[in-house]
Amino acid sequence: MKTVNGKGAAFQVLLVDDSPGDARLTREAFLAANPAIEVHVTTDGLDAMSFLRHEGAHANSPPPDLILLDLNLPRMNGREVLASIKEDPALKKIPTVILTTSESEVDILKCYQLCANSYLSKPVQLEAFEKLVTSINDFWLVKAKLPQQGGSDE
């Protein structure tokens, strides 16, 4: 499965989630689905933006192929992070998938208005969650054609 970017790890995924338990569970699920994925975790919105802009401690961070974004985040919430990404010409091409426990209609609508690439609810059951992560991998990292890293800067 090492294809697209030709680096050491096949895929770089940024997971933005303040719950270490959730983050670990997601990482476990991704590894189960595709061991070639490198999952980076940031625990709040500001940290996520630093990662994306290679700032501070994240000066050497890799540009992610996919962003998984929770909505309830400290300091800068998921919607603000989403808005910042989609307003940033360098970042807006990165597929950003909302992965949250919220099933609120308002949240769903708002996120699509802010150009989220899809909105997914975290299933309560472990098996269902694992299936969802597998299908994310299948769709976004296997089936979907993604732009070349760095090639889309306008």
């Binding site: 719950s19 569970l25 309560v124 472990l126």
Partner: protein, 646 residues
């Protein structure tokens, strides 16, 4: 006939000869008479009312005029030269009265008396007789004049008055200034129970003990006439006393009557027992009605068409803080500023009666204003009251401050309860939602533990992990159901016309797995359209049919759904199964939260399905019930409003 008399007289009484010949002047034309004398004679002769008779000293009749002939009945030829004693009654003659009269007259010159006299035919009459002596110049008595009048003639006219008196409908009593009865009529006899002669001359106080005699006596400041004048024509109410001592109410009218005896008082006396009794009865009746009015628990105000208060009761005084006298005649607007007076005035489209009729018996809520300007809520009931003054309006006014306060309090409590209910539901939703997150961690990681380490640790570890996984997943189901329960209200949609048929099909589609697994036969009648939240109706069917399939031991579980219209625009839905059935003691309980009738090993479930059903039906304004017998299946029924557009 008179010529003889005249001649006789002229010879006997030369000075009067001329005077006595007048009646016969035609026969005495040769006599030298003075005009004056002749005129006097003519006058005497022509007198009809008075009998004028000249007597000689012995009482022999010397002259006779027309009045004498009329009253005494004798022709002049029959009586001339007869003694005048034949004018007296036989008794008087026996007593020597005629002689006595002449003797007295001769002695004193003139005698006046009233006495009985006899006519030629023997009948008696009352006469007033004046006898005058005639003397010669030397003082010797030469004869007498007897002038008399038949008093019974004047008594006749009196009789006419008496007739009038007797014909009067009232008792009439004439009293003199000394308070003695001088005259009375037959009605007076009857009313007082006395015979006439028992009363004449008696004190009037015998029959009217008080109030009459006093009026006859002038006090120091006025005359009797003045005292009387004040009472004339007025009806004075007094008491009369009968001969037997019983008393009765009378009304008396006084009028003065001047007479020779001084001022008499005529009293017309009317027995007013009947009228008094009627008045007393009326007063009693009015007293009763007033008592009723005063006893009424509400303030009562009677108002005329001009909006003026004409009557009110004690409660009205109390409620409005006015004294009765301050309110009577006042505009009702002063105490009920709005909504009452307006109703008394007919607008152009209807009469006062119509306007009122609309309000009769309805309790209007208005505002009353007390004397101290404070206002209070009132309920007012109007009813029309026909009277001589036109249509009056009776208003029963109730102070509803307490009720209003209670209502406000109740409303406040309801609002509070609703708010607390909302908060509780919100709490349940948020709590169950937020509980889900940490629980997801517990459940997920115990499952991961179980998956990765089963068989790698010891047997105890496997068992412990097993319990943790089971507990966590049960907790997850409970929370999921709790969330669903709280969402019935918080996430419910507005009711709209919904096809029962379609909702059922969706429910069956959701249940297809369970139906397939159990081999159940689910049948239904055509279902109507109802007012519902479709998602909830689907859930309702799903829960009930799901239960019907689940609680089963039959070879082929059967479920039948039907609906019948009830009288009042609602459909009663039935979900009937051939399952285990429910003991009647649990009919109520099964609709409670987390109520389970079976052990976990027998049937899975959190015991919230029927609680959700109940909540859904209640949110739709209906109710749900179960009819069942152990071992014979159950029928659940719920009612939903029919949709207006079927």
């Amino acid at each position: 006939m008179m010529s003889k008399v005249a001649l006789a007289l002229r010879s006997s009484f030369p000075p009067f000869a001329g005077a006595l010949s007048g009646a016969s002047k035609n026969h005495l034309r040769n006599e030298p008479l003075h005009d004056c004398e002749e005129n006097c004679l003519m006058l005497v002769d022509a007198l009809q009312e008075y009998a004028v008779v000249m007597l000689d000293p012995e009482g022999m009749v010397l002259s006779w005029n027309a009045g004498a002939e009329r009253t005494k009945g004798y022709q002049s030829e029959e009586i001339l030269n007869h003694n005048f004693s034949c004018f007296f009654t036989p008794e008087d003659i026996v007593e020597g009265r005629p002689t006595e009269v002449l003797r007295l007259t001769a002695a004193i010159g003139r005698l006046e008396e009233e006495g009985m006299r006899m006519r030629k035919d023997g009948s008696l009459y009352l006469a007033k007789v004046t006898t005058t002596r005639l003397r010669e110049r030397d003082g010797q008595v030469r004869g007498f004049w007897e002038v008399s009048r038949d008093l019974s003639e004047s008594k006749e006219s009196e009789a006419k008055y008496r007739g009038l008196l007797e014909a009067a409908p009232d008792a009439m009593v004439v009293v003199n200034e000394k308070g003695k009865i001088v005259l009375l009529n037959v009605q007076a006899e009857k009313e007082f129970g006395y015979r006439r002669n028992e009363l004449v001359g008696q004190k009037v106080t015998n029959i009217i003990p008080e109030g009459f005699a006093e009026r006859l006596v002038a006090d120091g400041t006025r005359t009797a006439a003045q005292a009387l004048a004040q009472q004339i024509g007025t009806g004075i109410e007094l008491y009369g006393r009968r001969k037997n001592g019983s008393e009765f109410p009378i009304e008396i009218m006084l009028s003065p009557l001047e007479s020779a005896e001084g001022i008499l008082v005529t009293a017309a006396i009317r027995d007013i027992s009947v009228r008094k009794a009627a008045e007393t009865h009326l007063a009693q009746m009015e007293g009763r009605y007033r008592g009723l009015l005063e006893a009424a628990p509400d303030a009562m105000v009677v108002v005329n068409q001009r909006g003026e208060i004409v009557l009110l009761n004690l409660q009205a005084e109390k409620q409005f803080g006015y004294h009765r006298n301050e309110l009577v005649g006042q505009k009702v607007k002063n105490v009920i500023p709005e909504g009452f007076a307006e109703r008394l005035v007919a607008d152009a489209l209807r009469s006062t009666e119509d306007a009122l009729a609309q309000q009769i018996g309805t309790g209007m809520e208005l505002t009353g204003r007390r004397r101290d300007e404070t206002e209070f809520p009132i309920e007012i009931m109007l009813s029309p009251l026909e009277s001589a003054e036109g249509i009056l309006v009776t208003a029963a006014i109730r102070d509803i401050s307490v009720r209003k306060a209670a209502e406000a309090n109740l409303l406040h409590k309801v609002e509070e309860l609703n708010r607390s209910n909302d908060e509780l539901e919100q709490f349940a939703y948020i709590a169950s939602h937020d509980l889900q997150e940490p629980l997801r961690m517990v459940a997920s990681y115990t499952q991961l533990l179980s998956r990765r380490y089963k068989g790698k640790l010891d047997a105890d570890a496997d068992e412990f992990i097993g319990f943790a996984v089971d507990g966590a997943s049960r907790m997850q189901r409970l929370i999921r159901d709790l969330l669903e329960y709280s969402r019935v209200r918080t996430k419910g949609m507005d009711l709209s016309a919904t096809s029962g048929e379609e909702a059922l099909h969706r429910a069956l589609s959701n249940l297809s797995g369970a139906i397939g697994d159990s081999g159940a036969r689910v049948t239904h009648d055509p279902l109507p359209n109802v007012m519902a939240d479709e998602i909830q109706l689907v859930q309702l069917f799903q829960n009930l049919i799901g239960n019907a399939i689940k609680y089963q031991n039959a070879e082929v579980p059967r479920v039948h759904i039907s609906a019948t219209r009830n009288g009042g625009g609602k459909f009663i839905f039935s979900v009937k199964d051939n399952g285990l059935g429910i003991d009647s003691q649990y009919f109520e309980k099964i609709f409670g939260m987390f109520q389970r009738l079976h052990k976990r090993e027998e049937f899975t479930g959190t015991g919230i399905g029927l609680a959700i059903c109940k909540k859904i039906v209640e949110r739709h304004g209906g109710s749900i019930s179960v009819e069942s017998e152990l071992g014979r299946g159950s029928t659940f029924r719920f009612a939903l409003a029919a949709s207006e557009h079927p």
